[in-house]
Point group: C2
Chain length 429, copies 2
């Protein structure tokens, strides 16, 4: 028989329970900025533990310095040639438990983690991460690029995957501490125009089998070499996703940087690579909406069918299918400010058929993938259901004109050719 | 401009590229049964490495025995009361690399794993697992329940998440080796009617950041205590999933036991638990199709609207939204064989509205969740959008009649009251 629900729930809208629960938790953690609450703060954890436990606090960081002579810094080509990521001398770690909150974070020598075989992360993908770079400027300074955006997205991803919340400003301070510690040695002043890669991650470490929000977690941050992937010879070639494989879906978690978005995509990517393509162009729904290129956002420059206007088109954020990329956002903002009359920026759903049609009518101007790892990477071809679309790469064959222009602006900010608020200078030790 | 694709691809159907790639790999690994190929076999890995490397081979197992007096076996209640899973004395591990194939597996003392912070599994959810139990029979024997089905599903999950393939029979032998080693001490003869839980898992261990199929992996198998969850007081209460959270989707990976299906579900589950419900009843699509209950399959017994026939209804496998559960399959098979005239078994899509309608018309007879962890667990209520549906639990208030009957048959096979081919006896050391 059907009964009215218990009174406490009767008036509740639980239709968007997940999104609102997440929003409330993000808001609660945001209020911790500057430790207005003192050392105790909202944990914002799915376990619903009382908000009276120690919050993540960068001011408590303990430092154990590695022997600086123990490891030499390889050149970039050597460092990126093997099957192992070369990290710098140090890493940051911080433990959390539902009973005691966040411990004091540690900056210590880089090394292995020890996990029980029953650790949550190894079975249930209770894991999320971020990726950002730090840059050795042509002015000799070390810079991060908009690290506040990464830290805020990391909080959202962490809460989405039922791991403990934190004040994003504290994460940003920990990132800066690691860069300050290892920047001088690992990204030396005689390598201007170079970068290293920072990988913060949170994983569920509770050694208990069972499908539940972990009661123990570990935050860790590494800094490492990462190959330059923004200029593959002849441009990046994309293969559209097969009909029987969907990367993300409405109501899912495509917008969060959680491990669960990546592992399941590898099979199709490997298949595409075996056929000579670099990444998958992920389509969505029977309409074939273009969403992401590999694990990067995707942009097309075309002349609009109706108006004939030059447009920079990319998928929208509001359906939560794609990642709110820092590179994506910066491109959109720069194009709006610096090319207002030349290039109309359009964030909307668009289909692979629209691209095919534009190609047939000669309206495609250029295309590129954008993300931290691939930076801004020109796309030269899209393979879709037996057809190859060739994307113009300008006369030089290296990159489209707008791709090159926007990429140049971004580089200038990252490497200090332009003083800009997005380039956050780090004082190195 | 649009060109014809290169010749080698022109005739290819790549519409169902993923499913067919997977089927081919599963088939290739299946052919390894009994090592017809000798020690070299198909690795079936997404990296497409030549099939000339050592395959997983249980006959190469090396054994390092733990000190049997070092740890005492706790009673079941104590073992299941903490926040940590208590494992037995030993575990099985086996390393794989794309360059050298599978190493010799090891049976060794249970203990922590060491992973680099850059390990694939910690970032990209390159992980999958299985869950099965072994039982101390009332006849004193140790039994597994249909381990061949778990081993075959594990191969499918492993390939789906771009990890290396293996012959499922070899995995089964390794599981049996662990049960044989630890069964006598950890599931002693004076505990008939008890079980322990086996957790095989494969994880991507390559220490390299970057979204790619891992070139190193680790298979490990643990045996541990696991709480009995099949008889919560008053039955299991379910809360339907919020509209903004979808567990799995057509074209996704809901049918594979990969970590990526679990972590993203924890937030909604924690929210439901905070409201007094045990698990989420996952709905799919605007129609609200019932798919799974938590991480278990879901069954309803009702009188059909049209025919008035008594039906056992559960979601189908063909759309690949749900797990092909061993318990689910066994229930379907037993009900068909043993209750052919009484209960019609129906595997089809059915909606929450059909349940509401059947409830309103008094046609709901009983309902239960079914899986290895929850075994067969009576469901007493479903909360959906402000309404509570009460499910009959028979006069005793403990379980529906058919739920109890099927559960009894399963138990008899598991604990040796009935000699049945599904109960695989293990000779203990």
């Amino acid at each position: 028989m059907t009964q009215a629900a218990p009174k406490s729930h009767a008036g509740e809208q639980d239709v968007d329970l997940t999104a609102s629960a997440l929003d409330h938790r993000i808001e609660a953690n945001g209020k911790l900025n500057g430790h207005a609450n003192g050392p105790n703060g909202v944990n914002g954890h799915a376990n619903g533990h009382p908000a009276t436990l120690p919050a993540l606090d960068a001011s408590k960081l303990t430092v154990h310095t590695a022997d600086p002579t123990a490891r030499e810094v390889p050149d970039e080509a050597t460092a990126c040639s093997g099957n192992e990521t070369i990290c710098t001398d140090h890493m940051v770690t911080c433990k959390w438990t539902v009973a005691a909150g966040w411990e004091a974070p540690e900056l210590k020598p880089y090394g292995p983690l020890t996990l029980m075989p029953t650790a949550s992360v190894l079975h249930y993908a209770t894991e999320c991460f971020e990726g950002l770079k730090f840059f050795r400027g042509f002015d000799g300074k070390l810079r991060l690029f908009r690290p506040d955006l990464n830290a805020r997205r990391m909080l959202m991803s962490t809460l989405r995957i039922a791991l403990p919340g934190f004040d994003p400003k504290e994460l940003e301070k920990l990132i800066i501490a690691l860069v300050a510690k290892d920047g001088r040695k690992w990204l030396p002043r005689d390598r201007p125009g170079s970068f290293l890669y920072i990988r913060p991650a949170v994983i569920g470490t509770q050694p208990q089998l069972g499908v539940q929000a972990p009661k123990e977690a570990l935050l860790f941050i590494t800094a490492s070499f990462m190959p330059r992937m923004d200029s593959p010879a002849g441009g990046m070639k994309l293969h559209t996703s097969p009909e029987d494989m969907v990367r993300a879906w409405v109501g899912g978690f495509g917008y969060a940087k959680v491990g669960a978005n990546y592992g399941p995509s590898l099979l199709a990517t490997a298949e595409a690579r075996a056929r000579g393509y670099g990444q998958i162009l992920w389509l969505y729904g029977p309409e074939g909406y273009c969403t992401e290129a590999g694990a990067s956002n995707f942009f097309v420059v075309w002349r609009a069918k109706d108006s004939g206007k030059l447009q920079l088109v990319t998928a929208p954020l509001d359906d939560k299918l794609i990642l709110d990329g820092v590179t994506r956002r910066s491109i959109v903002e720069l194009a709006k400010i610096r090319l207002p009359s030349e290039l109309e920026v359009v964030e909307r759903r668009y289909t692979i058929d629209e691209i095919l049609e534009a190609d047939g009518e000669g309206r495609i101007v250029e295309a590129f993938a954008a993300g931290t790892a691939f930076f801004i990477c020109p796309v030269s071809a899209i393979h879709h259901r037996g057809k190859d679309i060739t994307i113009p790469m300008s006369k030089t064959g290296e990159s489209g004109l707008y791709t090159a222009k926007i990429k140049g602006w971004m580089k200038d900010i990252m490497y200090g050719n332009e003083q800009h608020e997005w380039g956050v200078v780090v004082d190195e030790e």
